[in-house]
Amino acid sequence: MLEANEISCVRGNRKLFRHLSFGVGEGTALRIHGANGAGKTSLLRMIAGLSPIEEGRIAWFGKALAEAGDDYSRQLVFVGHANALKAYLSPCENLRLGLKVQGVVVSDNAVREVLEDEGLASVADMPVQRLSAGQQRRVALARTRFAASRKLWVLDEPFSSLDDEAIGRFSARLAQHVAGGGVVVYTTHQNVTIDAPSNFLELA
């Protein structure tokens, strides 16, 4: 359902990757490997539709991303390097308003339940600024709890700053999403395995 055909990425006069092709079907995870600076983030941003695809084509259900446009965005969850949290709002406010911007309306109670489930109940009403890096990451990832209906999850280093328990829980959630017919495209430098059919892509 997600197919890349002969895509290239050039930053300045440096070629990050050339003529890259891959495909991911329903119910599969795609893990992108590569050294620092190999172009993993650039590739994820192209897949998410944030960076233009200068050469080649990425298609979602046979439709090029540019054509699919907003319909594609509504099928997508993107968690980037940055957490997209406002430092002066609480996790509760951040999640509720952030999700509403994405067109997902959830009640305050639902958000609180999820935060409690994630072990964040005690900080639910504190400014995000005062949370630890790992806690902030967990708030950012909690967005995915409300996005099971969105097929494609694109995650850039989702496990960074997480403790072992949180890594275990989130990788289990990824496996669950894949098992439900979703697609997860992610990068990580940590030694994490997702218990799901997985493809690997090596960026040289």
């Binding site: 944030l50 965005s73 993107f78 997209a84 949290l85 406002k86 709002l89 911007v101 994405q102 067109g103």
Partner: protein, 226 residues
């Protein structure tokens, strides 16, 4: 406007207003900056009433222009740094309208206070009642123009080192038409002349900015995020 878009626009506006409320000292700083800059002039040029009456409209308008430019730093830079801007682009709704929602929230917290305070400051310059009304009206029409044009500059300089000074260089020349007709309207009213024409031109600028600026802002945001 469908329900999804309405919700997204409401959420974007509400989030920015809530943030401005949490960071209300920033708003107050801006308001005091405006008040102080304006108040320095009567102290500096002396208390000659005719001179002050002639200077007033221009001084207040220039101070409003500087204050509104000073506030541009907050408009997109934080969202750009913390990743919120990426999520806005991926919201699956037209980005120009979301950008407009952000500019609207920005104007509420940085433009509207100037409009409301301006008649009070006009008194410092001995402007008469008619001129005070026209002053508030011209700023009510003019400050949204400043916010819209300024937002283009703020979006264009995202991620650029020393973006603040560059924004000023980009934006201040574009503020000139609004300044001429805004201050012109108040000066005309002060002299008992017709000011309707000035305000109409200012209104036309507002509609042009409303129609065009969101697309320019949205294009600039997409370039910044590439």
């Amino acid at each position: 406007m469908n329900a999804g878009l309405r919700q997204t626009v409401a959420a974007v506006t509400f989030r920015d207003l809530l943030l401005a409320f949490r960071l209300r000292t920033d708003v107050l700083t801006l308001v005091f900056f405006f008040v102080i800059v304006v108040s320095l002039f009567p102290l500096g040029v002396g208390a000659d009433p005719t001179l002050l009456r002639a200077l007033g409209p221009g001084v207040i308008w220039v101070a409003a222009l500087l204050a509104s430019m000073l506030a541009l730093g907050r408009l997109f830079a934080d969202d750009f740094a913390d990743g919120t801007l990426e999520q806005l682009v991926l919201a699956g709704e037209p980005l120009p309208l979301l950008a407009l929602a952000k500019v609207f929230a920005h104007w509420i917290t940085t433009g509207l206070p100037l409009v409301l305070l301006s008649p009070l400051l006009g008194l410092e310059f001995g402007l008469d009642a008619a001129a005070l009304w026209v002053l508030a009206a011209s700023l009510a029409i003019g400050t949204p123009v400043l916010s819209l044009i300024g937002a283009i500059g703020a979006a264009l300089t995202l991620g650029v080192r020393g973006g603040g000074a560059l924004t000023a260089l980009l934006v201040l020349p574009l503020y000139v038409p609004a300044l001429i007709f805004g201050a012109g309207a108040v000066a005309a009213a002060g002299q008992g002349l017709q000011f309707g024409g000035h305000l109409s031109v200012l209104g036309a600028m507002l509609f042009a900015a409303l129609a065009l600026a969101p697309w320019a802002i949205s294009a600039a945001i997409r370039i910044a995020l590439e």
